[in-house]
């Protein structure tokens, strides 16, 4: 445990130094990566561990984002409290939904959460206090002055996002290696056997849903901070799809993998952009190439490495010495 803490502190320190050395665009992308890391952790926990498929993570993120924005704008609270409220709102909502979700299996849950991802952000259009289509501003303010003139807004976002992501990952990894993590894996693999061992399978599923939603909500608030805005469009269906893709590419049940998944999600538009530039500058190419790459990766990975590329690599490495 103490080693783990030391490891995370070291990681944070490395990131801090990196953040000082790269240009502003990379810093901004780093902040995005931190956001994706949290969101992917939420999927890994839900799908990889407890075996529930949710396509509605974008909706959970929206709940967190709006919760944080409303707290920040209406109560004038400090930033950390807004993030805390994001977690609380999303967790409550997740618990509620999880109660329904625990009764659903596989495709029903997938379809229901898909409908949620489509429908929930639209609520913002109905109620004035949610700001409608243009959304609400989410302003965590300028970085503290003592950091100096050179300390940009994006670096401030990067610091906050990374800090939150590290804490979130630390907590998640602890939860997953605890009794709960084991139980979830048990339910996923052998629901009946787990029940026989005295596990309340549906209660544990609701718990997984709640924790996962809380994480998603946190990610939603971080996303809102990075773009200074909460709006229905920020939590569109495409976000939910991107997250599922990232989680699959990361290896759906590997927590360290989420860092890799987040990296891919940030890198793909970059790569596609460069590729499109080389192939010609047509708008169409710019617009659809990222989607094409993501889809092809997703399909290949589901067919050939359903448990993530990491798994295949590990298998490969394990085989070699035996030969």
């Amino acid at each position: 445990m103490r080693k783990k803490i030391a490891l995370f502190i070291l990681l944070g320190w490395v990131l801090l130094i990196i953040g000082d050395r790269v240009d502003e665009l990379r810093v901004y992308q780093g902040a995005q990566m931190a956001m994706y890391t949290i969101a992917l952790a939420s999927i890994v926990l839900l799908t990889g561990y407890s075996g529930q498929v949710s396509l509605g993570n974008g909706a959970m993120m929206a709940v967190g984002g709006y919760g944080a924005a409303l707290t920040l704008n209406n109560l004038g609270s400090p930033i950390w409290f807004a993030f805390l409220m994001a977690v609380v709102c999303a967790a409550l909502f997740g618990a509620l939904l999880g109660t329904a979700a625990a009764r659903l299996s596989g495709p029903y849950l997938a379809g229901t959460t898909l409908a949620l991802a489509v429908g929930l952000p639209a609520i913002a259009n109905q109620f004035k206090f949610l700001g409608g289509e243009p959304g609400l501003l989410f302003d965590v303010g300028f970085p503290p002055e003592r950091f100096g003139e050179e300390f940009t807004q994006y670096k401030w976002f990067f610091w906050i996002s990374t800090f939150i992501a590290l804490i979130a990952l630390f907590m998640t990894s602890n939860i997953l290696s605890s009794r709960f993590g084991r139980t979830w894996r048990g339910i996923r693999g052998h629901s009946l056997a787990a029940e026989l061992c005295g596990v309340h399978s549906s209660r544990m599923k609701i718990l997984a849903f709640t924790v996962s939603s809380a994480l998603a909500g946190l990610a939603g608030a971080v996303l809102a901070m990075n773009i200074s805005l909460v709006a229905p469009g920020a939590y569109a269906l495409s976000l939910s799809f991107a997250l599922v893709t990232g989680a699959v590419l990361a290896g759906i049940s590997s927590l360290p993998g989420v860092v890799f998944g987040a990296f891919i999600l940030v890198a793909i538009p970059e790569i596609a952009d460069a590729l499109a530039g080389r192939l010609g500058d047509a708008d169409k190419l710019n617009h659809y190439l990222p989607g094409l790459i993501v889809s092809i990766l997703l399909i290949l990975s589901v067919i050939y490495a359903p448990n993530g590329p990491g798994e295949n690599l590990r298998k490969h490495l394990r085989k070699k010495p035996a030969r």
Binding site: T47, G48, Y49, G51, V53, L55, A100, R103, L104, S105, G106, P107, Y108, A110, G111, T112, L114, A115, L116, V118, G119, L120, A122, I123, N125, Q126, R188, L237, F241, V244, T245, V248, I252, S253, D283, K284, L285, H287, Y288, L289, G291, L292, V294, S295, I296, L298, I299, V302, I303, Y304, P306, N307, G308, E311
Partner: protein, 298 residues
């Protein structure tokens, strides 16, 4: 009172298009145990092909025929080249539960990108095969038009054709048998794999019709059929995912219900209305309104 009837009629026309989408989903679900999220993509691709034909020949119905053919071909192709490979590989591990769902999502994205790269993201519109001018009732006009009548008629014809196919032909029997008990069907000499591919291709054709009809009084874009998929899914769940008749009833109920929300409450509550219906059905009658007591599988 007139507004109620208007709303009912428009809802019927909307719901009948949902019905086609939900039938396509049910057909695939029964044979493969996969909710095919790529159905929206397949339908979109077929609609684009239908759109090309319809706008070049200026005959909507020719476009429709081509859309059906394209849909059937794509459907069969997806099963043959994609689902078979998928089931061969993804069988174990924590991802086994999610693999089919995610694979169809990936396919949806793939088709969307290909369509986008081919046709671009501009909004297209197909010239409607009939007047969209409302009928005159008394001294006013209602929003219900000849086109709506035509939509309802087309859907009815397709539904009747499907019913005959499933109830009266050997192929229909084979389809039903391999969906209900694949092993026994195989023992009885039915080539289940081939039958499944036929099921996918019928679903694809039906999806193509849904795409063409929904586009006949709206715009076509690489994203325009996503909502149709969601509503089709909700309708299928209302009907219990297994039953074609159930999903048609579910679709009509949903279409009429949502049109009432649209006309009486407001546009932004439509999605939420649909979602609430879904949750209610799942919580109160999770086997769908047509459930006959058989436990839900999967």
């Amino acid at each position: 009172m007139q507004k109620v009837i208007e709303t009912l009629l428009i809802g019927l026309s909307t719901g009948s298009i949902y019905a086609l989408m939900s039938i396509a989903l049910v057909l695939v679900w029964r044979s493969t145990r996969v909710v095919n999220f790529a159905q929206a993509g397949q339908a979109m691709l077929s609609t684009y092909i239908g759109f090309e034909i319809a706008s070049r020949s200026e005959i909507f119905w020719l476009g429709l025929v081509f859309a059906i053919a394209a849909g059937a071909l794509v459907g069969a192709g997806v099963d043959y080249f994609f689902m078979r490979v998928l089931f061969k590989h993804a069988t174990s591990g924590p991802a086994a539960v999610v693999a089919p769902v995610i694979a169809t999502l990936g396919l949806l994205g793939l088709i969307r990108s290909i369509v986008g790269l081919t046709w671009g993201g501009e909004f297209r519109s197909i010239k409607a095969p009939a007047s969209t001018d409302g009928f005159t009732v008394g001294d006013g006009t209602i929003p219900f038009s000849t086109l709506d009548v035509l939509i309802i008629a087309t859907v009815s014809i397709i539904l009747i054709a499907l019913a005959l196919l499933f109830q009266r032909t050997n192929l229909g029997l084979a389809l039903r048998a391999s969906a209900y008990a694949p092993e026994i069907a195989q023992l009885a000499g039915i080539r289940t794999a081939r039958t499944r591919t036929i099921g996918w291709s019928i679903a694809g054709g039906v999806g193509g019709v849904a795409g063409m009809l929904v586009t006949s009084n709206n715009f076509l874009s690489p994203y325009s059929l996503d909502l149709l998929l969601v509503f089709g899914f909700i309708a299928a769940v209302i009907g219990g995912l297994e039953s074609m008749a159930g999903s048609v009833i579910g679709a009509l109920v949903l279409g009429i219900g949502l049109t009432f929300i649209l006309n009486y409450v407001g546009t932004s509550l439509v999605f939420i209305g649909g979602f609430s219906v879904l949750i209610l059905v799942l919580l109160i009658k999770p086997d769908g309104i047509m459930a006959k007591g058989k436990a839900r599988r999967a």
